[in-house]
């Protein structure tokens, strides 16, 4: 899951962030109109894909951050706590994403 999240985020996130959160707010590009955007986001396939993608991204972060805390800050003695905090938050975030994307 870690490498899947890493690979997918490496491929898709930079362009996404560049267009939606930098170019569009700064007015460099015109994002599609609200209605068609909403329609796009409504599409079940898109939502399923998004859910899979963000879940993998959350777990990628959790796994990597856990090791960064161990190695970077030498927190090996807190191993159980860190595992619960990182994987736990990833699970909760994925669950929330699932509810938002697939149910609402």
């Amino acid at each position: 899951m870690f490498s899947g999240g890493g690979m997918l985020s490496a491929f898709f996130l930079p362009a996404t962030v560049l267009v939606m959160w930098i170019a569009a707010p700064l007015g460099w590009v015109e994002l599609t109109v609200y209605d068609s955007f909403a329609a796009l986001a409504h599409h079940f396939v898109v939502r399923l894909g998004l859910f899979g993608f963000v879940s993998l991204a959350f777990f990628h972060w959790a796994h990597r951050f856990r090791y960064t805390l161990y190695d970077g800050l030498q927190l090996y003695h807190l191993t159980d706590l860190i595992a619960v905090l990182t994987y736990g938050s990833a699970a909760i975030l994925s669950l929330a994403a699932g509810v938002i994307l697939l149910i609402l």
Partner: protein, 246 residues
């Protein structure tokens, strides 16, 4: 045509001190000298109590690993001229408890190496009359790089994970396990799996990559470890498939 060079060498003599100390030596070095030559000069003419390991003096035995100006190198393979101007800092390899001066205890490495069965493991041996096990150059090429390891442990010194988490089995051990896993004559991959796939095995590695950078034999242990991660992950998925044979 000698040149005076200052060496700052870490001393540790538990019978007189609790913590390591630094001692400076000025050595007139010849242009072709290695660090080892300077150390031998100090031991022969200045302070016979200086302790360090060395043997072949030509970069094949792996005995003389130490930190020179913070980098893990073989002292017999590092020119003094490459670390000029002084002072040159010499310390024992990181990650291993220091017994005395530049000598570290490597029992941990040896135990871990033994645990991955670094020899050809077979169900049954071919009878002698059938001759030797044949292997094509391509089959040899699969593992040859990993067989070049001289057990010098520079990679252990370079690996921050090993020092932070001494249970980690470490780069050389994994590379050597792979050397046998990828050897066509070997049938022992299953036996090595438990250790390699344990928490202290490949999964402790976060691909810093320094092990490969310092390796004097071009083994690329980092590559070996990542390749095994991919293999293990793919195998895990395959085992999940309904038609997999367990």
């Amino acid at each position: 045509m000698t040149q005076p060079v200052i060496f700052e060498i870490q001393r540790y003599r538990p019978e007189i001190e609790d913590e390591p100390t630094w001692e400076s030596f000025e050595v007139s070095c010849r242009p072709e000298w290695m660090i080892l030559d300077a150390l031998n000069h100090i031991k022969d003419y200045v302070d016979g109590t200086l302790s360090y390991r060395w043997a072949c003096r030509m970069g094949v035995c792996g005995s003389c690993g130490m930190l020179v100006n913070g980098k893990p190198v073989l002292s017999c393979a590092t020119y003094v001229t490459s670390v000029l101007p002084g002072p040159v800092r010499v310390e024992p390899l990181r990650g291993f408890p220091v017994i005395r001066d530049l000598v570290g205890d490597i029992t941990d490495f040896v135990r871990k190496l033994e645990s991955v069965k670094p020899w050809i493991v077979r169900e049954s041996e071919q009878p002698l009359e059938e001759g030797e096990y044949l292997q094509t150059p391509e089959e040899l090429g699969e593992y040859k790089q990993y067989s070049m390891c001289i057990n010098c442990m520079l990679c252990y010194s370079a690996c921050p994970i090993y020092e932070l988490d001494p249970d980690f089995i470490g780069p050389a051990v994994i590379a050597l396990a792979q050397r046998y896993n990828l050897d066509s004559r070997d049938e022992g991959s299953e036996e090595r799996k438990d250790i390699l796939l344990s928490q202290d095995g490949i999964w402790s590695c976060t691909f810093v990559g320094e092990c490969t950078t310092v390796c004097p034999a071009n083994v690329d242990p980092a590559g070996a470890i990542q390749r095994y991660k991919v293999t293990a992950t793919v195998d895990a998925f395959k085992a999940l498939l309904p038609w997999a044979s367990r």
